[in-house]
Subunit: 351 residues, 2 copies
């Protein structure tokens, strides 16, 4: 039976990526060796790394003032690297607290320096995106999370701030057209729209670095990774290759514009059902609804068993909500076909 | 033509690992989904992580006082995590400087606290292992590198020190029988004997943690990863799975004892040729020769073109020495068959 994978991450990727990644493990580029056994400094892999970095800039329409890095440690290590690299010894940073991962970022930054939380939706279990705040030039940077995977909220626009704009885009990167040049630093764990777990993307405007008067440990220093072109130490070869395949697939299939159109259609299909079906209700504030992670609950808990049985029988997996929200979460990342969303909607109609 | 892959790392792994890893990318455990698209908290992957951790303890014959972690960032990030977790605010650490990576470890530790380099072979381009030193209880820990990939030296025994014994085993872990209980902390980038790039193994005696009076950033804190069973954030799923396959293969084929016997035979075959063939000479001091990375040079540089042509024609790859040593380096990790070493020896005899 066909599977419909609504997992929040690691998550669905294009089938073509699985096929090509699987082949490369047996024989990479026809060289008679596995991708897993070649030097990261071999010309075949250096070409992959170079192109993986170049595609990001093309997709984001960014110029030479930005650098692209593939690192390890996930967004969690970026929570630490961002303040190490951008928060000056006597400065302060502004953060919004829009969920579990934003809280994690705030916690790490506070270990490094001074942090003000300028807005938070914690008091309502993060079911909306706070918008009523300003950030002045007294801050070294402003940090936000574009999409909150657990709670199903998404920033539809980004505030104009009088400082650097830093964004954790782990769960909605490459899902919609944005003016990426408004950001000074973007980071993302790969394991949603851009690859399997094990690689972390950082896109950084080079001119913002080197200003904190801090001694930065080598692995945590963006400047080191820029200088070594993401080869300061052995990179996560397979994860970078699979990310390269994923981004190449995106580029060859209409880029972010085409992905956004598909994502809008999928989100509309599912949210319309949530709004029109009396058995369901959405969790997030309507204007802040995520187009990647759709959180919803049953209005009548007595229907839970019937619903759970029905979606499992339809081949759907990964639909259980996160424990801090409950209910259901349908993650409909770039690679999710609208046909799978229709299967879910049909199940919702059936109970 | 059959390839003979002498790459220093990422490096050769068992063919069975490539086969199974390739299959799992198309369909993992017969669940109808790719290994790359499932949640790291799914029961199928949690079972992999649990078993990957358990195999390490079985292979090393370690008890419940040790914890096994799979992290990211390579040995390079361990250079930072070790002092963050073990070097107390007013304490000092002892390091030996036996090569490029040992130097990297020393550099990071010095950013965190006080470090004494108690022995070094830098003055002779790291061609031997210094042995004439003691380490007293005034140190929080002693750090050494068991095998120096670039220079081809290996510690044949470990000093008795009056403090914690910490070892970077990246390039010879699981290659020989040791009393692993003599170590308090072992770490290794996976990309030699235990898997592809992208995962980092840490084996740590739990009782040594929590004594530095330092605030440790979350991702850098071993205690956090122990508490979350290596799932503090999304682990590098594929790299952990491939490491699990590699260690399972080792365990099912006689464990470390059988690997050691094979490695000894391979090393003897190659070093005997280096010593008996007047065209070649070894780089490392004889008593410190690595059984993983065999470094050698031509005695007559005019034969270089003939030798290079001959080994390439024989299907050999990855034989060029590191730029800081020159000459040649044959990396003969666990997965390297003795037949491939024989091919190299035959080429050496032929010129």
């Amino acid at each position: 039976m066909k599977k419909h994978n609504f997992s929040a991450g690691p998550s669905i990727l294009p089938q073509e990526v699985f096929q090509k990644a699987s082949e490369a493990i047996l024989d990479f580029n026809g060289i008679g060796l596995s991708l897993l056994e070649i030097s990261h400094r071999s010309k075949d892999f250096v070409a992959v790394m170079d192109e993986a970095r170049a595609i990001v800039k093309r997709l984001m329409n960014l110029g030479d003032d930005y650098e692209v890095l593939y690192l390890q440690g996930g967004a969690s290590l970026q929570f630490l690297m961002v303040p190490y690299n951008l928060l000056s010894v006597d400065g302060k940073a502004a953060y919004t607290n829009t969920g579990t991962w934003a809280s994690g970022a705030i916690k790490e930054a506070k270990m490094i320096g001074n942090v003000d939380v300028v807005a938070s939706s914690k008091e309502s279990n993060y079911n909306y995106i706070p918008k009523d705040f300003t950030v002045g030039s007294e801050y070294d940077y402003f940090h936000c999370t574009s999409n909150n995977t657990i709670f199903g909220t998404q920033m539809k626009s980004f505030p104009k701030v009088d400082t650097l704009l830093v964004c954790d885009m782990s769960s909605d990167i490459f899902s919609r057209q944005l003016d990426f040049s408004q950001f000074d630093l973007i980071y993302a764990g790969a394991q949603k729209n851009m690859g399997p777990a094990g690689a972390t993307l950082v896109v950084v405007k080079k001119s913002i670095l080197g200003k904190t008067r801090r001694q930065i440990p080598t692995y945590l220093d963006y400047a080191v990774h820029i200088d070594k072109e993401s080869m300061s130490n052995t990179p996560p070869v397979f994860a970078v290759y699979a990310s390269y395949l994923t981004l190449k697939h995106l580029e060859e299939n209409g880029g972010i514009a085409a992905a956004e159109a598909k994502n809008n259609a999928k989100a509309k299909l599912l949210y319309d059902e949530i709004d029109n079906n009396p058995n369901f209700q959405g969790v997030a504030a309507v204007e802040d609804r995520s187009f990647m992670n759709v959180t919803f609950t049953l209005t009548d808990e007595s229907k839970q068993e019937a619903f759970d049985t029905a979606w499992k029988a339809a081949g759907i997996s990964g639909l259980n909500g996160h424990r801090s929200v409950g209910g259901y979460r349908a993650s409909i990342y770039n690679a999710m076909p609208i046909e799978s969303v229709q299967v879910l909607v049909d199940v919702m109609k059936s109970i």
